[in-house]
Symmetry: C2
Subunit: 234 residues, 2 copies
């Protein structure tokens, strides 16, 4: 089978191999190309990318640090599972991070930030117009991550990105039942959030972010309730 990740002996700059493996695995995990529970074979990856096992292992250690993979000692490392039993902890943290990052963005954003945020919103609108649910997921993530960057709190940013990535995985699982009627509402809410940030209206930013988070959480919960049969193994 022909793959875009060729096995030909390509020359790579020093220190670039790790990043390559890391990015590939990360994307494949978040896009569910590697579904939760998939074993990751180091040798196979090494042959596929025509490099030694050392950089692959380093990338795996980094992914394990972010919780995307789980390494069983002396056994294979597998893609981490999504903890459906404790999704409420995810929703709780997600909502809080939506709120604090948007609040902080309204407080601390600087001249260039609004342009970046609006650019991301344009990307999201394009994805909505194209009815590309996968692109919506990705651009929505980038939109809120950019807001978090404008808030300038690295601790919140790190946790928020982790949550957004996990959300990307969850949404992917329920991609088949993605309701493309709601996104228009999301786009409007995004515009309102931008407006609140631009006018430095912290209270409005908090209120809008809370409502936005509630929307997304509610939608995910609906998806889960709808497709529960498929998530429970026989």
């Amino acid at each position: 089978m022909k793959d875009k990740t060729d096995g030909a002996p390509v020359e790579r700059r020093r220190g670039e191999g790790v990043k390559l493996v890391y990015d590939i695995l990360r994307d494949e995990i978040l896009d569910l190309v590697l579904p939760p529970g998939s074993p990751i074979d180091e040798i196979q990856l090494a042959e596929r990318l025509s490099m030694s096992r050392t950089p692959i292992r380093e990338a795996l250690v980094r992914l394990a640090g972010e919780g995307l993979v789980t390494t069983l000692p002396n056994r294979s490392t597998v893609v981490s599972n999504v903890d459906f039993l404790n999704l409420h902890t995810f929703f709780d943290a997600m909502t809080l991070m939506y709120r604090v990052t948007t609040r902080l963005a309204a407080e601390h954003h600087r001249p260039g930030d609004l342009a970046a945020i609006r650019a991301r919103q344009a990307d999201f609108a394009a994805a909505v117009a194209a009815e590309d649910a996968l692109a919506m997921i990705a651009t929505n993530r980038d939109f809120h991550a950019t807001i978090a960057e404008a808030g300038r709190n690295p601790y919140y940013l790190a946790l928020f990105c982790r949550l957004l990535d996990e959300g990307r995985r969850i949404l992917r699982i329920y991609y088949s039942s993605f309701d493309d009627r709601l996104p228009a509402r999301y786009a409007d809410e995004h515009d309102a959030i931008i407006e609140a940030i631009a006018t430095r209206d912290v209270a409005a930013a908090d209120r809008l972010a809370t409502a936005h988070a509630d929307q997304i959480v509610h939608q995910i919960q609906q998806m889960i309730a709808r497709d529960r049969r498929q998530t429970v193994p026989l």
Copy 2:
């Protein structure tokens, strides 16, 4: 010089070397045995612990993932600096995590949790009685980490532990000026927090946690204001 980390060729079980290096480096970084900016030489560590560079590198990658060390590409990896210019972001996140973890503990704690929390509080009280400021820092961290565990939100727990560790480092820097008059107040506040959690009084838990966080933040700020001269290089 004789060290407890001997260089004799000791036999180690498979997979134990990485954890050993990780724990040693982590402790030395948080205790400022390795002050911020210290270069970490892989070969030197490998000789000191009588092992290859591979497990040392894996431990360094994990530490880099937690932000405790910074790896300059193709150059040495150094202990991460404390960002004094943006301490307010640290205080902000710290206060929020104090609040949400204490709230969640009041909501979700289970039978065994209170005993564990009280045990940690006893450790803290013992450190206060012994007037051991270093032990106070460590036991205070464990006390709040145990509360966060009782809250059962892994996302908050991870961020909170990271913040508590960073706080441990900051307090260590100002250890010389540690005022051992305040800790008695801390112990009382801890008792009040335990009471609020036990009675599942979420509002009280939130209020007490906020006050507690404000106390600690205020004390650190006072320390910094007092010793600013030493923090500014010539």
